[in-house]
């Protein structure tokens, strides 16, 4: 396994792969561009089931799971929803393996009262098929639908206010979980942002609780989301998590994955371009042409059906904070790349998928969140781009929404962004109205829609990026859509650099974050 590194584009550098929504391109970057390559994929654990057993029997800073169980107790198992990992992993999902082990112990001990809850917070309810894919047929058949269900953040009767943190933040989570004798949380820690106290304190929370950290002020002071010690959002979540841990016994199981987001047949998407074989070259050309010739629906189906070759690199269980330290070590081992200094321009290619459009469309707001919220924040220390610099993103940003999954996004885009793109302004003016809109609430609770306030959170997610950057330009982006979001679009990289020259000059330093696979830049 080779570590990540920073490539300096020279005359020998071939055109480099850039993701661009449901497609990709090869881009000839200017000489001198720095390219951040993630470390190669770590080998997976040879015996995942053995590692799970070991983690449950010898947990971090906690008694073994079996010792925490007794007959007659209330056991709640919560797990991360389909927003991670991306793309979905091969079956069996590691969450299935862990939940089956936990249930086996519970059955041995004689625990009857078991509920399994999808920790989807304000995300859309998962369908039965989607849940079954994560937990496996055996668990699904035993528990669905009465004892295996989605968390409902709007079910007032089934939420419990646990108190206020020292900063005055409401801590309100799922009543069943709060009143349990033991919560076992099963997580997939795809990037450093996930996991820790974020799992229970966000995954099972209500809007009343989430609003304390999912707001423009907190988000702009989260630098970055990938470093929980420097993230205001995580600090708030940690306060809430500690309050919860004082009142409820939480047994956290965290897992980490390697850097194989694509299956073997798409190997060229993860290989370094100068090492592409003839087969890789032919695959890249063939797939690109085929994708371009496909009808839109077929293309979307093709991309959404991609199943990653992720392998499990670590399983740790026990007390939340002790576990998360181990988890982050694994994540950093897989994703951290040392980068010297910032640059004037950051270039990223946005893929077809974000945590919020699994089996759906990446609408413009999600594209903005993916670019300025996630990719921009893939750093530790300092952003890859200097304050006032420019960010160039590749994505078509088509004016397209899923009415099923993102109904409030449509109105947010048409109504709110037409008024203002400033996160603080739209928060003050519009958030309450969307968060309490009965129709959006109804769709969230009964259909498969994201909560009414969710597009606001997506926009806040980019607050730090919006505050930090002097210019945001989308290569290949729909002009009308970009303009609505307050951005500009360019046809080519050359045009984008020309447009950015007013901000960063005519010979800027550039960094291209070659991701996915995931890379966290440790900017010195």
């Amino acid at each position: 396994m080779r570590p990540g590194f920073v490539l300096d584009v020279d005359e020998r550098t071939p055109p480099l792969l850039v993701h661009q929504g449901e497609g990709f391109r090869l881009e000839k970057f200017p000489l001198g561009t720095r390219v951040v390559y993630p470390p190669e994929s770590l080998p997976g654990l040879p015996d995942v089931d053995g590692a799970i057993d070991h983690a449950l029997e010898s947990p971090e800073n906690s008694e073994p799971l079996r010792a925490l169980m007794r007959p007659g107790m209330k056991l709640t198992i919560a797990f991360d929803d389909l927003s991670i990992p991306l793309p979905q992993m091969r079956r069996p999902d590691v969450r299935q393996r862990i939940i089956e082990k936990v249930l086996t112990i519970a059955a041995d001990v004689g625990v009857d009262d078991v509920k399994i809850i999808v920790a989807n917070a304000l995300h859309r309810r998962m369908t039965g098929a989607e849940i079954e894919r994560i937990v496996g047929e055996r668990v699904f058949r035993s528990f669905w639908p009465n004892d295996l269900y989605n968390h409902d953040a709007e079910d007032r009767d089934n939420l419990l206010h646990m108190g206020l943190t020292e900063a005055g933040e409401d801590v309100e989570i799922n009543r069943r979980a709060a009143e349990s004798d033991l919560i076992v949380y099963v997580n997939v820690n795809l990037v450093a942002m996930d996991g820790g106290h974020k799992s229970v304190a966000i995954g099972l929370a209500s809007y009343n609780s989430l609003r304390h950290h999912h707001n423009s002020h907190t988000m702009v002071h989260s630098r970055s989301f990938m470093d929980h010690t420097k993230s205001a959002m995580h600090s708030s979540t940690w306060r809430m998590g500690r309050l919860l841990a004082d009142q409820v016994k939480i047994f956290t199981v965290e897992t980490t994955l390697n850097n194989s987001p694509f299956p073997e047949k798409y190997a060229f998407l993860t290989k370094r371009e100068w090492e592409w074989s003839l087969k890789d070259q032919a695959s890249a050309y063939g797939m690109s042409r085929a994708v371009a010739a496909m009808p839109k629906q077929a293309r979307r189906k093709l991309f959404q059906s991609v199943v990653a070759d992720y392998a499990v690199t670590g399983v740790h269980a026990g007390e939340t904070e002790a576990v998360h330290v181990k988890t982050l070590e694994n994540v950093h081992r897989q994703q951290l790349v040392e980068v010297q200094g910032q640059s004037d321009v950051l270039v990223v290619g946005l893929p077809y998928l974000s945590p919020y459009n699994v089996n759906s469309v990446l609408n413009p707001i999600l594209a903005m969140c993916l670019g300025l919220g996630y990719f921009f924040n893939m750093y530790r220390g300092r952003p890859l781009v200097r304050k006032g610099g420019a960010m160039i993103l590749y994505h078509p940003v088509t004016w397209e929404f899923s009415q099923l999954h993102h109904p409030s996004y449509v109105d947010f885009f048409e109504e709110v962004l037409a008024e203002s793109t400033d996160p603080a302004t739209i928060e003050a003016t519009f958030e309450k109205q969307y968060a309490t809109d009965p129709w959006y609430t109804h769709l969230y609770r009964t259909s498969h829609a994201y909560h009414g306030v969710h597009p606001f959170y997506m926009w806040y997610w980019g607050s730090h990026g919006l505050d930090h950057l002097g210019d945001v330009i989308w290569v290949g982006g729909d002009r009308r859509t970009c303009a609505r979001m307050g951005f500009r679009s360019a046809s080519t990289l050359a045009d984008a650099l020309e447009m950015a020259s007013g901000t960063v000059g005519t010979s800027p330093s550039m960094t291209y974050l070659h991701s996915p696979p995931h890379a966290i830049a440790d900017v010195r």
């Binding site: 300096d8 020998r12 090869l26 000839k28 970057f29 330093s509």
Partner: protein, 324 residues
């Protein structure tokens, strides 16, 4: 600072994009900054025995006599000295020359008497000349090249087998073309072959090829620049010779030939050889008197001066034109 070198095309992956990254023949072009992260490729020796079959030898003889030699003489003013003594060689030998240009191998081959040339193979860097199929096949056919590993790894048995089979070998012991025209440090491979196989080393000084076609050029400079190929007397391995000693003698002999070409044989034998002399003009010429010369190496001399000396036009060797 980044500099945009070209326009970008439309979205997707076009044929032109693919072609820019395509490794024709499988040779991998690795960006400089990615070199430390390269995966070592498994050893794979390109078989060249087919290039020594009668048919291939006949093709090569014809190509060298009727295409390569006329081409060389049309582009360069070639002078060859000392080749007449080579016909008296009793058996195979190792030709060791300084190396500063891709012209060196064809020049040396063209300078050899035909009887020797047709049983002479040129050792060539496996990673460069045998990295792609088309390059490997064409050089093996036209120059009779055989691969040698210059970056470590398992040594090939081909050179030993060739000498045992009565073939002569051409070796450039610096391992790569000189970047500034100076003669670099000789590696031990040639001396080892001579010692283990008991064959003589023929030192060869090639002067002017750097000036005619240095690194970065793919065709000689116009104006038929002069080049000289000067063969020395065979160096027989002596009893008790070790690798280092024989390599030192070889290196001295090559430097002396270059010196001889720039001055006279008498001057060169009276002067202690300098192993770091310039291939174009020896240290004892242009760079004499500078710090570190002669005999103490040219490391302290500015690079531009070494290049300057190496590319200094040679004196015309033919009779003076009555019109000058």
């Amino acid at each position: 600072m980044a500099r945009l070198s070209g326009s970008t095309g439309p979205g997707g992956v076009g044929l032109r994009d693919v072609a820019q990254g395509w490794r024709w023949g499988g040779r991998t072009l690795v960006p400089g900054s990615a070199e430390p992260h390269r995966v070592p490729s498994p050893p794979r020796e390109f078989t060249t025995s087919w290039a020594r079959t009668p048919a291939a030898r006949a093709t090569r003889s014809a190509a060298q006599a009727y295409a390569l030699a006329p081409l060389m003489r049309s582009q360069l003013s070639m002078s060859v000295y000392g080749a007449e003594a080579l016909t008296e060689l009793p058996g195979p030998a190792v030709f060791v020359a300084n190396h500063s240009s891709h012209l060196d191998a064809p020049l040396l081959l063209c300078a050899l008497p035909p009887s020797l040339r047709e049983r002479t193979a040129v050792t060539a860097a496996a990673d460069y000349f045998f990295g792609s199929m088309w390059r490997a096949v064409s050089t093996a056919l036209v120059f009779g090249t055989v691969p040698i590993e210059r970056r470590g790894g398992a040594p090939s048995t081909t050179p030993v087998d060739l000498l045992a089979d009565g073939w002569n070998l051409v070796i450039f012991p610096e391992g790569t073309r000189s970047a500034d025209g100076m003669v670099g440090r000789f590696r031990f491979g040639a001396a080892q072959l001579a010692l283990t196989q008991g064959v003589p080393i023929i030192p060869v000084g090639i002067r002017g090829s750097y000036a005619a076609m240095p690194r970065g050029r793919s065709w000689p400079k116009p104006g038929r620049p002069p080049v000289t190929i000067r063969f020395g007397r065979p160096l027989q391995p002596r009893p008790g010779d070790d690798l280092r000693e024989l390599t030192g003698r070889t290196s001295d002999a090559v430097s002396r030939l270059l010196d001889e070409d720039a001055t006279t044989w008498w001057d060169s034998v009276r002067r202690p050889a300098d192993t770091s002399g310039a291939a174009g003009t020896p240290l004892s010429g242009t760079l004499e008197g500078l710090p570190g010369t002669p005999g103490t190496g040219a490391a302290g001399i500015a690079r531009w001066r070494r290049v300057w000396a190496a590319t200094e036009p040679a004196e015309p060797s033919g009779p003076r034109s009555p019109w000058d």
